[in-house]
Amino acid sequence: MLRFYPTDVLLLLTVLAMALFLVLSLRQEHLRRPWRKVMGSPTGLVSALLLGLFTTVAVLDSVRIDQGAQTLSLLDLGLSNLRTSTEKTYSEPLGVYASVHEMVRTSDGHETWTAPRLVFGGRHLVHPEEDRLRDLAQRFFKGGVLGGLAGALLALLTAWILWPRRNLLAFSVRTFWAELPRSLRAVMITWVVLGCLIGIAVALAGGYHVLGTDKVGNDVLFQCLKGVRTGIVIGTLTTLATLPLSLGLGILAGFYRGWVDDVIQYLYTTLNAVPGVLLIAAAMLVMESVMGRHEAMFQSLPARADFRLLALCLILGITSWTGLCRLIRAETLKLREMEYVQAARILGVSEFRILLRHILPNLFHLVLISVALDFSSLVLAEAVLSYINIGVDPSTESWGNMINTARLELARDPPVWWSLLGAFGFMFVLVLCANLLADVLRDAFDPKRENAA
């Protein structure tokens, strides 16, 4: 029995819409050239690949199945090993003992003050002190080799799909590598490296907690993976909320000018004048108290957390549409004076049709660039907002919440650094990919940067 929360449906729809958009724009001759530029850039292709993997994780985490008492996503089911292997409390990455000492009763009846063995981490080891390193090395190599091979297969598959000269069998290995475009070479290398890394992680996760466990003994790697969905939801759904406002109002202001323009300009200057964080905070505070009044609306805690996530996206969207709106207004002002628009008008094409057929498609590059640029800042903003407690619900798995709970743990002795490292690491990779891809997209699609290096 499948169960979808609102953000699940919206996320899946958004991913579908983006794919559709990509296909449609590939059929437009004038857009095919910039896309080819993106395909030819190693950074662009590699970051697109990694973003694709993150999105896959998010999508897997958005398809949920009702199982009696609890609702689990496909990701939960696939990683049930990680999800259920909880410990009592903190433990180091790849550790065998807990990080917190406690009274342990030994077999001869004495009580000693020591760090107990973990329930899951390294339970297959009989003599952990001697065997642990050998076992880790074995898993490391086995996982690395197998994962690397799988990655190589995927690499070949990608090259076969993306490279127009399909007859790969006609090449010897050396000429193949030499003739392969640089970007595809980079993608193939990325696949192999990724394969190794994932293989190692899978092999190690079979017997240990790769990134340790947190205060209540949950696996940190699993939490990091769960955080992917929240990050992607915030990055994409917020944009979805922004687009109707910025696109609609921007086009109206630029096309009709006059009082429409004045009103819309007044609107966005007003919104711009309020410091962003404060507006978000104010809206979230009000949201929370409204939600408190309508407690009955939410059947369960997850439904409530999901509603809050959706509300956060909407609020972020409403507070951040002004930048793009201004750009679109300026571009529309320019476009409406173009000869082809004048010609269409003289030919008696209706205003609505002019907007739809002649103006809207030419704003595509602005939207694409701004969506890509906003994505990374939204992912980063989530962490900050969660820290001020106006972000996602505390029960939602997100990197911001992980950082928020873990930041005081650095003060423990010995410091607990792995939760922070995991959350920051995952966030860094996602944001870095988004930033790099945004740069490549901007260089490819912005006509002003035609000749820029």
Binding site: L285, S289, V290, G292, L436
Partner: protein, 326 residues
Amino acid sequence: MMGYLLRRVLYGFPLLLGINILTFILFFVVNTPDDMARMHLGQKHVTAEGIAKWKHERGYDLPLFYAEKETGLRCLTETIFVRKSLGLFVFDFGQSDAGRNIGADIRERMWPSLAIAVPSLFLGLVIDIGLALGLVFFRLSRLEYAGLALCVALMSISTLFYIIAGQYLLGRWFQWVPISGFGEGLDAFRFVVLPVLIGAVSGVGSGVRWYRTLFIEEIERDYVRTARAKGLSEARVLFRHVLRNAMIPILTGVVVLLPLLFTGSLLTESFFAIPGLGSYTIDAISQQDFAIVRAMVFLGACLYIVGLLLTDLSYAWVDPRIRLDD
């Protein structure tokens, strides 16, 4: 000039009014005073009398827009809108929901905010511009490529990481500076170093990229080619010609930020326990003290408008081609 200024100031009023109405709707219409009272008194054990008393003490028991019971002009003045919202226009911030005088709080807490924000801004500027000039000097070389890649990487790191790592490294590991807190007078210096440093460093990635694009734009101009053709050294071209001309966009970009320095940085101040306006706001948010949040929103908007005005003035000041009287 004076006419222009006057017009700009007058144009600010509808903006402020819009913001005023926006926050009013958010805090008094969507979320009624009854809800506020219930939230402050605790959701469960509240009596109707308790709510009425709480509202009366804070003046929230008046009608929203129009008082039917009153006569004459008092119909309009004896309302929450006039009492609580329009008062902001004369900077009468009134009392917070917890009973403190917001105006006095703001005057007192402004200084620690400035002590952090002003040095961060200027240190950041010096570092960013210096590094950006360096990148431009070595443009089209591997060094520039590596520098730009590093900038993207630095941009992708969360601000929270800079703060947490900085506190741990400098505060706990080396113990050079106190981890958080604030002191009086010269003692404050010890506390200011770390937040200022982190504030400057966390902006380096995006800052250097931004200033680099400004310089690159300038470097493609004809006068730069002329300067090179005269045989000037590259360093001289950069410092004497490019930097001086790029100062126009740099200066105007900074001026718009200046007024907002008063409100401080929410994140830095709350992490370092600095008693400034940023942490004031954060505390208000976590205690759900709407009166303070409303006041801060209004103050921020005013400062933003002042910033825009200053930008226009600074344009006219540094660029003789721009004249403000039309």
